[in-house]
């Protein structure tokens, strides 16, 4: 296995080897234009075709209807934390509600509170962010602007199940860290957004999928760049988009659609990977603790610890000696974390599981 295939970083995450190869060629010269992708104008026919294909692949992979706009933005989820309340809170009679279920969703709600009044629909901080709520059971005012949650918490390794039943309040989901890892039902949502640097390509581009009926709620007078309508009406080409990141995103969606065979096939692979790692960790439950309660364990991010900083660090060293990288836990939680994004192969996860077993056998 190459070093890139053993990168378990929490993001920017690994990319499939085939895509790294295509990207290298594109930096020398795109097959379609003979010019480097880094010198391509965002007004070129080539780039318009790329934007069109990226959107079309996403619509096909996720089953997104024409009732929804699909746009590519800059600024990551952090800019969405501000833009969403700026765009969608003003017209509603009750404030937006936020589910604080981990590091990232708490950050989203703190940022929204800088823009407008908000309600906290649920808070998992007191229990150390180890569980998730049932969204349907929350007491949310029907007149709320929207209910916001983060579908997968990367820091704590928590993941909501796929949502199969519509709520009677507009649902807004930050899916940054499990987007395109499995099928979802876009029609359950008023808005889905995801930044790129997990399953979707290099950092610097964010996808937003927005129910067009929500656009009526946007107040006039926002700065154009912070108004979703600007990006929709300019087909993601209002100002210079991050051409390279969108190009790689297009390659990734092409790979998912035609090489992997769609999101159900991707889900099967991801389930196999997370099962392999959790099985290994469970077999070591006398010396390893998984942060998340079993029912809410994430398939994308596995946060765990040997319960002792020195052991965690010793494992990082042992792993690195075998070429395994990116296992440091998030700075807010410490411990260890393995991120199993789409580009991480089952073989890589097996290598990690074996390394864990061997380390526990020898050192613990």
């Amino acid at each position: 296995m190459t070093p890139n295939s053993l990168n378990f970083s929490g993001g920017p995450g690994a990319l499939p080897e085939a895509i790294l190869l295509q990207t290298r060629q594109a930096i020398a010269a795109l097959p379609e234009t003979g010019l480097s992708v880094l010198g391509m104008s965002h007004r070129s026919d080539w780039f318009n075709a790329i934007l069109h294909e990226a959107e079309s692949n996403l619509r096909h992979l996720l089953g997104i209807s024409d009732d929804y706009a699909v746009v590519f933005l800059q600024g990551g989820s952090s800019l969405q934390f501000a833009m969403i309340p700026m765009n969608f809170a003003a017209a509603a009679s009750a404030p937006p509600e936020y589910v604080n279920a981990g590091y990232w969703s708490a950050k989203a709600s703190a940022e929204a509170a800088r823009v407008c009044p908000t309600q906290i629909a649920w808070d998992g901080r007191a229990s150390g962010y180890r569980q998730l709520p049932d969204l349907r059971a929350l007491d949310v005012a029907r007149s709320s602007a929207y209910l916001h949650y983060v579908s997968n918490e990367t820091v704590e390794g928590l993941q909501f199940p796929v949502f199969e039943e519509a709520l009677d309040v507009p649902l807004v989901a930050d899916m940054s860290s499990d987007f395109l890892s499995k099928p979802v039902r876009p029609d359950m949502y008023s808005m889905i957004y995801a930044h790129a640097q997990k399953n979707l390509g290099p950092a610097g581009v964010t996808v937003a999928i927005i129910d067009r009926s929500l656009l009526e709620r946007i107040p006039d007078g926002l700065p154009s760049i912070l108004d979703f309508r600007t990006h929709i009406s300019h087909r993601s080409n209002y100002n210079t988009p991050p051409v390279f990141a969108i190009y790689v995103l297009t390659l990734i969606t092409r790979w998912l659609r035609f090489d992997i065979g769609g999101l159900s096939a991707m889900q099967d692979i991801n389930e196999r990977k997370s099962r392999c790692l959790y099985d290994a960790l469970d077999s070591l439950d006398d010396c390893v603790t998984v942060h998340a309660d079993r029912r809410w364990r994430s398939q994308m991010n596995v946060a765990f610890t040997f319960g002792d900083t020195r052991l965690d660090e010793a494992f990082l060293v042992a792993a690195r000696e075998q070429g395994i990288a990116g296992l440091e836990g998030h700075r807010s939680l410490g411990g260890l974390r393995a991120s199993l994004y789409n580009a991480v192969t089952p073989q890589a996860v097996e290598t990690l599981a074996r390394a864990l077993m061997a380390f526990a056998d020898e050192r613990v």
Copy 2:
């Protein structure tokens, strides 16, 4: 010459061949880490060293003192058009003033007017954006929040001279399209900003150089991501930055500093290039019109026309046959435009000048 070296696109612009080669290698594996640059964590030691080097190279190239912060942002100039008045207009007793000297500066002032009251200090629209004002001669209130201008207008091919004498109002300059093409005096400015996709690397990153004394004017309660203090205090690593774009920017600043030998050397090359092209156009002044008045001609973007759409299009075809790309004028002005950013070599400009002379000789 390779196809990339004959790319005269207005942006994203060409990059030096040596940098394309390094970038290709980095996508396979960075020499420092053995991992692809596209899978590197923004929290890694490697990326912190890259951020540090990028800032240090910029400080060295431009002579930026510690009185100024240097940060890397997303969203292009268009996001700055909103952030600058959001951050710096509220505390002043008189509104910011804007110089409308071309397509881009008019856009900046229109966006600022969505955020706060503004004054137009000068407007060149009536004269077709062919001239520029003397900034020192403008009647600007001393108590104005700031005076904003765009140092080089890419669409019309206009460029302000380097500014050598401080105004008594804070001066804010969008230098997106001539940044790092020649020396400037940062101490003349309260803020300089520039997006990447001209002289600085691939689209998706924006540099801001901000006088720290201006930070006191920022009102509390802005969304964190839209508050310059957030990015300064997190050393450009508040949320996931565009790692790849910043990496390439670092290579570019390294190239300028150590291979070219600094901005005076770069200026000599750029003067030679623009002289070569303008000499050719002037020798054809019976059939070619340069948009900008002579005194304000840009060294970066040369907007011109044969005065006849069919001839302009015929020249585009003839140029393309010789491998010369990117000469289409901006959609708002039409005609032809050659952008002579740093990565365009004198040899490439000579090739273009010869192609123009030959075309005029045969077809006009």
